[in-house]
Amino acid sequence: MNFKALTAIALVAGLSAPLAMAGGADDDNMVINGDTDMTTKAAAAAHLDGALDEVISGWHFRSDETQQLQLDDFDNPGMIFVDKAMDTWNAAEGTEGKACADCHDDPADSMAGVRATYPKWNEAAGEVRTLQMQVNDCRVNQMGAEAWKYDAGTAVDMEAMISVQSRGMPMNVAIDGGAADTWAKGKELYYTRTGQLELSCANCHEDNYGNYIRADHLSQGQTNGFPAYRLKNAKLNGVHSRFKGCVRDTRAETYSPGSAEFIALELYVASRGNGLAVEGPSVRN
């Protein structure tokens, strides 16, 4: 970007403008609980040829204080919700009187690696499913329980608990086969300039990551850290809710969490993060 260069020159010239401090991704290393090394920068997947060379976790664009909170499960406020979801996992619900645990036993075994592959094509159902959709399918069709509202607390907490079982594993979302059409739709949405500000996801997260937009340090808008605990609202946040906020900020009419558009977008954005470690639950401002 020539503007990055311009800004850099301006900075070197010793400008006194109250620029939020410039600079791209930092060089810190993420090690969780002192033992799990996390891949937070990786070579971009082949489908990103011409768009990105390297994919970078959103963690690298946050302040040291925020970053720190994610390094230890005792400091990570998102882990409280993971504990809550563990209780839900063991609780029987619905007409079948079953709990998740009855069929899936210990999530540390049954759910290891699962989060890294979602959203995922489900052949029998003939659809791309997000993790929340799959959990709801189990609730409705296996347990005889009600579906959780999309991105509501219980659903996102469960998603975080399942994510923890894949923490450190590289994102590995499939974009071919049955998923291909949905992926293409998601890609189109990613590059569409919406709203009265006419900005696409790519305008901010591909063309300008590393730059500040007002007080916000733009990342690549990756989803490997989701669900994300946000200091702003002190709870875990789902991917679709984040998308909704970003679309709204272009002065556009947004899509709803759980909509076909956001499912497609989630698949596409997740595939842009292939190779990055699953971080959920991450901590963000």
């Binding site: 990055k4 800004t7 620029l19 939020a20 730059n211 937009i213 009419e253």
Partner: protein, 158 residues
């Protein structure tokens, strides 16, 4: 946000009585995107222009541009170029064209089109995320544009 809409509506309404106000659809862009004629026929107020550029609910220009003269407002962004000295390098007509609709000067520009009301994909009702309930107002009124142009013309190095 609601305030902005009301302000914009008032300014528009006020503007309409002045027969000279050029509507967004009628702005005459030159081949290079410049706009020679004032949108209101009324001189711009540079001090007001400075306020518009820093206000989150109005131009919010500093979210993308650093401007030393606006250092009182915090957090200048880096998405667009620094605007110090722009009054030396660009003519009034060029600046008016860029502020009214930057896409006429810079193809596919990331900079929002501030004096335009049509051609959007899924426009919303300001920052509510909801569909608009009435016709869209431009992001800035004609006089806002003139005020911003007047301010930018004061940014001279020499």
């Amino acid at each position: 946000m609601r305030l902005t809409i009301i302000t914009a509506a008032l300014v528009l309404a006020a503007g309409m009585s002045a027969a000279e106000t050029v509507l967004p659809a009628d702005v005459a862009y030159g081949e290079d995107g410049a706009v020679e004629m004032s949108l209101t026929g009324k001189a711009g107020d540079a001090a007001e222009g400075a306020i518009i550029m820093s206000s989150k609910g109005r131009g919010n220009c500093i979210s993308c541009h650093a401007v030393t003269a606006l250092n009182d407002a915090p957090f200048h962004g880096e998405v667009g170029p620094m605007l110090d000295g722009i009054g030396d390098v660009r003519s009034e007509a060029e600046i008016r064209g860029i502020v009214a609709d930057a896409k006429m000067t810079f193809e596919e520009s990331l900079m929002p089109s501030f004096y335009k009301t049509t051609g959007y994909i899924r426009p919303g009702n300001a920052y509510t995320g909801k569909a608009p309930t009435e016709e869209l107002a431009p992001l800035l009124s004609a006089q806002d544009i003139e005020d911003v142009v007047a301010f930018l013309l004061t940014l001279k190095d020499s």
